[in-house]
Amino acid sequence: MPELKRILHVEDDPSIQAVARVALEAVGGFQVLSCCCGQDALDQVQGFAPDFILLDVMMPGMDGPQTLEKLRQLVDIGQIPVAFMTAKVQPSEIEHYRSLGARDVIIKPFDPMQLATQIRAIWSQAHG
C-alpha cells in the first residue's frame, strides 16, 4: 500500500481550513494544501500532486460535487481517493455522494483528534 502524505483540502471557511490543517498536520503528520474554492483546487491540483483530496460539499460558486466532476478530468480519482465533508447526514445523501465517485463522507462537525484516523481508514480501504 502506498504511503499517504499529501492531502488537498478544499474548504471555503478559513476557520475550518485552519482547524483541519492542524488536525491533519499536527495530529496526522500529513502535508496539507488548503484551497479556498473549487477553482483554486483545479488550478493547484496538478502542481501539488496530492495523495488524497478532502472536499467540502457546500461552497459558494462551484460546489463540492461540481468540483469533483472537474477534478476527474485532471487526475485519476481511482488512485487519488476523494472524500466529501458535509453537515447533511441523510443516509440516502451519503449514497448519492458515493455514486458521484467519492470514497466516503466525513460528517461535520468532525472530531479533529480523529480526523487523521478517519482519513487513514478511507485510504487503506481504497488501496486495500
Binding site: V19, A87, K108, P109, F110
Partner: protein
C-alpha cells in the same frame, strides 16, 4: 213459534240484505217529506186508511214513513212485511181473519186490527228486499189492477229515492270536507276559471298575501305573480296545465303581498275537471316558503362571515357526485360560483392541481368507505389567485338511499404554507450558518484539549474543557432542532428494511463503551433471541443511542446498564435498564414532551437538550413502533421500544 204458519221465513241472503239496508243509513232517522208523500199517495190510490214504508232489520220492522199509523215499529215476527220481502212481487191478504197465517196475529186480534194487507218489496236492484211499501185497511178489501200497478211504481220510486238520498248525503259530506280543507289548509287556496280569473280564495290568502278573499274575486291570478315571473302563466301555467291530466304541477315562484313585498311560495297547479271533459278551471295551492328562505338567508349570512367555503357534498351509489349546498366562498377556493358547481363536480376537480387530483379522489372514497373524517391539504389552480393551498375537512353520513353526504368546510391555507416554507428555510439556513462556526470552535478546542498543539497549562485545562463540552452541547441542540423540524414537517424519510437486531444492538453497545467508561459504568449487552426487525437502521440507532446515553448519564458510578431484547407477540421489545434514580410519578406524564427534563438543573448537569426523548418517540412511531418505560423511583428505570418483527411478506 217457529213452526207456526204465521211466522215469517228468513230470506236466504239475510246477512247481505241487512248490510245493504244499514248502508242506506235510513233506520231510525227522522221522517222525510218525500217519503211521506209516497205513502200518502199510496193510501189515496188504494183507498186505505194506512200506508207505510217499512224497513225490516234483524229484530223489527221500522217505518221510515207512516200514513195513518202511530206505531213507529213492531216486532219482526208479527210483521206482514216480513212475509212480503220473501217474494218479488205484491203480497196481498184480502181478509186476515180467513188466513191461518195471520188470524191470530196480535196486529189482527188487537190494534191496529188489520184485516187487509198489500205490500210491494222495496228491492235495491242488487237482489236485496229492504222492506216494503204497503197499504193496510181495518176491513177486508181487494185491489184492482190499476191500484196494484200504482203500488209497484211507487215502490220503485221509493227505492230510487233511497239511492238519491244517500248520494246527496255523500255529496254534503264531501262538500263539508272540501270546505273545511279550503278554509283550514296551511296554505292559500285559489280557484280560477279557464282564463285564470280567481273565482274563490281561501282565508289563507289573507295570512299569506294580506288580501281579504273577497278582494280577489274575478282578479287575474297573474296579478299576484311578481314582475319577474309575469311571463310564467303563458308558458308555464296555461299550456302545460292543459296537457296535465289532473296531476298538480309544482312551481317555486314569488307571489306579491298586498303591500308589495315578494313572498316565496311553492305553487301547485291542478286542473279541475269532470271525467273525460275539458277542465273547468284550476286549483292553485300556494305554500309559504318564507321560513325556508329565512333559514337559507341565515345560513348565507353566517357562511359569508366564515373564511373559506362551507358546503355539502354528496356521492351517490352510482358514483355520481354533486354539491347540494355551497356557500359563496366557493369562489375563494375554486373560483367558481355555487350554481356552477351544484351539479358539475367535474369543474371542481378540474381546478385541483393535477398532481393532487388522484390523492383527493382517493381520500374521498376512503372517507366514504369508512365513514371517517375527510381531511386533506391540496393545491388548487385558482383562476384569479393562481396556485393556492387549501385544507378541507368534512364528516360523512350515510343516507337512506345509500349515498354519502358530507358536511364540511375548505380554507385557503396558502399563507400558512408560505410561513411553513419560510420557517423551514429559516431553520435550515440558520442551522447551517450555526454549524459552520461551531465546527471551527469545537475543532479548535478539540485540538487544543487533545494536546495536538502541546501540553495545555493546568490553569487553563478546566476552562478549555468546559468550552469544548458546551460547544458539543450546542451542536447536539442544533442537530435535535433540525431533526424535530424535519419530523414535524413530515420531511424525514424512513428507509424501512429487515435488520438483524442482535448485530445492531452489539454495535450500539460497542460504540457507547467509551462513554460508559468515562462515567465508570458497566454497559452490558445480553444477547436475545436473534430476530429480524423491520426498521430504518440509522433512525433505530439514533433512538438507541439516545436511550443508552440517558441511561449512562443518570446511572450512579459503578452502576450497570443492560441492553436486551425479547419477543412480544408481533413485536420485538428492546430494553435499556439502568440503576439510576428512577422517574418520579410527577415527571412520568411529560417525559416524552419537548424540552422536558425532570429538573431544570438536569439540563446543565447532564448536558441534554430536552429534545432527545421527544424525537425518539416521533422516530419510533414513524416506524410503526412504540416507546415507553417502567420505573420505580429509587430502583432504576427500564425504557423499552417495541419494533415490528420482520416476517416474509411484510417487507416494505
Amino acid at each position: 213459534m217457529s213452526n207456526h204458519p204465521g211466522h215469517p221465513a228468513t230470506p236466504l241472503n239475510e246477512s247481505e240484505r241487512l248490510a245493504a239496508l244499514l248502508a242506506y243509513e235510513l233506520l231510525d232517522t227522522p221522517s222525510e217529506a218525500m217519503f211521506d208523500r209516497i205513502t200518502a199517495l199510496a193510501a189515496q190510490i188504494c183507498g186505505t186508511p194506512i200506508a207505510l214504508i217499512s224497513l225490516i232489520d234483524a229484530e223489527r220492522q221500522w217505518f221510515k214513513s207512516r200514513h195513518g199509523l202511530d206505531a213507529e215499529q213492531t216486532p219482526r215476527e208479527m210483521a206482514f212485511c216480513a212475509h212480503a220481502i220473501n217474494g218479488q212481487t205484491l203480497f196481498e191478504v184480502d181478509n186476515t181473519l180467513l188466513d191461518p197465517r195471520f188470524c191470530d196475529n196480535p196486529l189482527v186480534t188487537g190494534a191496529p186490527d188489520i184485516r187487509f194487507y198489500a205490500g210491494v218489496p222495496l228491492n235495491d236492484g242488487q237482489g236485496h228486499n229492504l222492506g216494503t211499501l204497503c197499504v193496510i185497511d181495518r176491513q177486508p178489501r181487494h185491489l184492482n189492477d190499476a191500484q196494484r200497478q200504482a203500488l209497484h211504481l211507487l215502490a220503485e220510486q221509493a227505492t230510487q229515492l233511497f239511492e238519491l238520498r244517500l248520494q246527496a248525503r255523500r255529496q254534503h259530506e264531501q262538500a263539508a270536507l272540501h270546505k273545511a280543507m279550503f278554509r283550514s289548509a296551511g296554505a292559500a287556496v285559489l280557484v280560477t276559471d279557464l282564463d285564470g280569473l280567481i273565482q274563490q280564495a281561501s282565508p289563507g290568502v289573507s295570512t299569506l298575501l294580506g288580501y281579504q278573499p273577497a278582494q280577489l274575486q274575478q282578479q287575474p291570478l297573474e296579478q299576484l305573480l311578481t314582475s319577474t315571473l309575469r311571463r310564467l302563466p303563458e308558458d308555464s301555467l296555461r299550456k302545460p296545465l292543459a296537457q296535465t291530466e289532473g296531476l298538480g304541477q309544482v312551481h317555486e315562484v314569488q307571489l306579491r303581498h298586498c303591500d308589495g313585498h315578494p313572498v316565496p311560495v311553492l305553487l301547485t297547479l291542478t286542473p279541475i275537471s269532470l271525467e273525460d271533459q275539458p277542465p273547468l278551471g284550476y286549483l292553485c295551492i300556494a305554500h309559504d316558503l318564507s321560513y325556508r328562505e329565512e333559514a337559507l338567508q341565515r345560513l348565507q349570512k353566517i357562511a359569508e362571515h366564515l373564511p373559506g367555503m362551507v358546503y355539502q357534498f354528496q356521492l351517490d351509489p352510482d358514483g355520481q357526485s354533486h354539491f347540494p349546498y355551497t356557500s359563496q366562498g366557493v369562489e375563494e377556493i375554486y373560483g367558481l360560483s355555487p350554481e356552477a358547481v351544484a351539479h358539475d363536480t367535474l369543474r371542481v376537480f378540474q381546478v385541483i392541481h393535477p398532481d393532487d387530483q388522484r390523492r383527493v379522489q382517493e381520500g374521498i372514497y376512503l372517507s366514504a368507505r369508512d365513514l371517517s373524517l375527510w381531511h386533506q391539504e391540496y393545491r388548487v389552480m385558482h383562476p384569479r389567485k393562481g396556485l393556492i393551498w387549501v385544507e378541507g375537512r368534512a364528516s360523512p353520513q350515510r343516507q337512506r338511499d345509500g349515498s354519502v353526504l358530507w358536511h364540511g368546510f375548505i380554507n385557503d391555507i396558502s399563507a400558512r404554507k408560505q410561513m411553513e416554507r419560510l420557517k423551514s428555510e429559516f431553520v435550515s439556513t440558520v442551522s447551517h450558518e450555526l454549524r459552520t462556526p461551531l465546527t471551527s470552535i469545537a475543532g479548535s478546542l478539540g485540538l487544543v484539549n487533545g494536546g495536538a498543539l502541546g501540553e495545555v497549562p493546568p490553569s487553563m485545562a478546566d476552562m478549555l474543557k468546559i468550552a469544548e463540552q458546551n460547544s458539543q452541547r450546542l451542536r447536539q441542540l442544533i442537530d435535535d432542532l433540525l431533526d424535530m423540524d424535519k419530523l414535524i414537517a413530515g420531511k424525514m424519510t424512513f428507509n424501512l428494511q429487515p435488520l438483524a437486531l442482535e448485530t445492531l444492538l452489539a454495535e450500539c453497545c460497542a460504540s457507547h463503551q467509551g462513554f460508559a467508561q468515562q462515567h465508570g459504568i458497566r454497559l452490558l449487552h445480553s444477547p436475545g433471541p436473534g430476530l429480524q426487525v423491520l426498521a430504518d437502521p440509522f433512525r433505530l440507532q439514533q433512538v438507541l443511542s439516545n436511550l443508552l446515553s440517558n441511561a449512562l448519564k443518570f446511572s450512579p458510578a459503578q452502576g450497570e446498564v443492560l441492553l436486551s431484547s425479547q419477543l412480544h407477540g408481533d413485536v420485538v421489545r428492546i430494553l435499556v435498564s439502568d440503576q439510576g434514580p428512577g422517574i418520579s410519578a410527577d415527571f412520568a406524564g411529560r417525559i416524552f414532551e419537548k424540552f422536558s427534563q425532570a429538573d431544570a438543573s438536569d439540563r446543565r448537569q447532564k448536558g441534554g437538550t430536552g429534545l432527545g426523548l421527544a424525537i425518539s418517540k416521533e422516530l419510533i412511531e414513524r416506524m410503526d413502533g412504540q416507546i415507553g418505560f417502567d420505573s420505580t423511583p429509587g430502583q432504576g428505570s427500564t425504557f423499552w421500544i417495541d419494533i415490528p418483527l420482520h416476517r416474509e411478506g411484510n417487507a416494505p
